[in-house]
Subunit: 213 residues, 2 copies
DNA sequence: TAGATTGTTAATCGATTAACAATC
DNA sequence: TAGATTGTTAATCGATTAACAATC
C-alpha cells in the first residue's frame, strides 16, 4: 500500500482499463470501427457518463457527435496498459499454483517477462517449467536479485514462506509483489507495493500502476 | 453484478472481513486476549475509526474503555464468514489452474464443499484429483446440476469455454460463479453473481455475501 | 476518580451519475 | 440544419475519517 496517488487517474479507473481493453479488442477483431459511450456502458455494465469520465482522464480521444473510433481506443488503452517496457518478474513457488501462473505469465499476460523461478523443494529444483524456465533453489534468490534486479516477485507460496522471503526481496530492491495466495505483507514493508491479484485483469492493471508511480 | 445491497453491510466492509479474520486468528493462536481498535488499525493499515465502524455494522462487540476480546471477535467474524452451511461447488476445468484450485477448495478454504469436477479433454476425464474427486465429462454437467443443484461453479477455463458453459449453468439454477481466469460474463446474465476472485480472501468473503443475499 | 477506548454522529473526501453546452 | 454524442461541470451518493459523549 505504498503512496501512488500522485497522478490524477484514480485506482477505480485503472482497474476498469483491462475490461475496456478486452471489449474493445473484441470489437476490433470483429471489424467494428466505431462505438459510443452508451454502447460501451451497456457492455461494461456501467453508465455512459462513467465511460466518458474514464476516457477523459487520459485526454479525450472521442469525437463529439460521432463517438469513439475503436482503433484509436485500442491503441490508447494498449499504450496505457502495456507501456513501452516489460516488467521483469521472478516466480517464487513452483507448486500447482505456481506452475499455472508461470504459464499465464509467459504465454497470456502481456507486459511481463518471466526471468526465473525459485522453489525450496529438492524435487522442484532443477526441473524445467513448461515455459522453458529452470527452477532454481530459493537459497540463490538473493544473489540472483543482486545480479539481475527483477521488478516484481510473484509469490505462490504459503504465508509463512512469503514472510520469510520478503526481507530478501526488499533488501534486493524488488519493488512489487504480486501475491496470488495470501494477503498481509502489506503493512510490514513501507514503500513496497504488495497486491493480491487474480489472473487476467489485475496483472495488467497493476503493471500500469507500478509504471506510473 | 446482481442486486445484493438489501442488507446494511457494504461491500468494502465485507471485503475487509477475511483480513480481520486472519489477524484475529493469529492473535488468538498467540494467546492474545484483548485488542483495541487502534492496534487492529495499525495491523490492517487503516484507521481506528474504520475498525470501529466496521465492527459496528454487525452490532458492537467491544467494551468501552477496554477494547475488544479476541475470542469474541474471532467467533463473531467466523460466524459471519463461514455461516452454518457450506457452499456446494463444482469445478469446471481441471488444467493446472483448476487442479491448484481444487486443492485450495478442498483443503484450505473454509465454507466450501467440492462436489464434482468437469473437463472436456478425454485425457482429464476419469482422472482422480488429489482431493479424491473424479473428473467427469463436461457433457454431463447439465444432468449433474439437475440432480445435485450446486450453489456455485468455479470456472478455470478460457473465456470462450466459460461463455459456452454459462447458459447450462444458468439454466440449471446455479447462482454464483467464481471466475479465476477471466472476466466478463457479468453482463450477459442478470441476477447471477459473477465474481473474479483470487485465492484466500475473496472466496471467503464472497461466500458470505452469497449467503446473505 | 482518571484514563482509556468504545459506539455513534457529523464532517470530509472521493467516486459515480446527471446535466448540458460544445461540436461533429 | 437537425440529430447524435462528446467533453466537462455540477449534483448526488457512498465510504472514510474525525470528533466526542458514553462508559468501562
Amino acid at each position: 500500500m505504498a503512496a501512488q496517488n500522485q497522478n490524477k487517474v484514480s485506482l477505480p479507473v485503472i482497474k476498469r482499463l483491462p475490461k475496456y481493453y478486452r471489449y474493445i479488442s473484441d470489437m476490433h477483431n470483429n471489424g467494428i470501427v466505431k462505438v459510443s459511450s452508451s454502447e460501451l456502458a451497456r457492455m461494461m455494465g456501467t453508465t455512459a457518463s462513467q465511460v466518458r469520465q474514464d476516457f477523459n482522464c487520459f485526454g479525450g480521444f472521442g469525437q463529439q457527435g460521432i463517438g469513439y473510433h475503436v482503433d484509436v481506443l485500442l491503441s490508447e488503452i494498449s499504450k496505457l496498459l502495456f507501456s513501452e517496457k516489460n516488467l521483469n518478474a521472478v516466480l517464487i513457488g513452483t507448486g500447482r499454483l505456481g506452475r499455472a501462473i508461470s504459464g499465464y505469465l509467459s504465454a497470456e499476460a502481456r507486459g511481463y517477462h518471466l526471468m526465473a523461478a525459485f522453489d525450496k523443494s529438492p524435487d522442484e529444483i532443477g526441473r524445467e517449467l513448461q515455459c522453458g524456465v529452470m527452477v532454481q533453489d530459493v537459497a540463490e534468490l538473493a544473489a540472483f536479485c543482486a545480479a539481475h534486479h527483477p521488478d516484481v516477485a510473484v509469490l505462490c507460496i504459503p504465508r509463512a514462506g512469503a514472510k520469510a522471503v520478503a526481507p530478501t526481496l526488499v533488501e534486493a530492491g524488488v519493488k512489487g509483489y504480486w501475491n496470488f495466495s495470501h494477503y498481509d505483507l502489506s503493512v510490514d514493508y513501507e514503500g513496497i507495493t504488495v497486491e493480491n491479484v487474480h489472473l487476467g485483469d489485475s496483472l495488467m492493471s497493476l503493471g500500469y500502476r507500478v509504471r506510473n508511480d
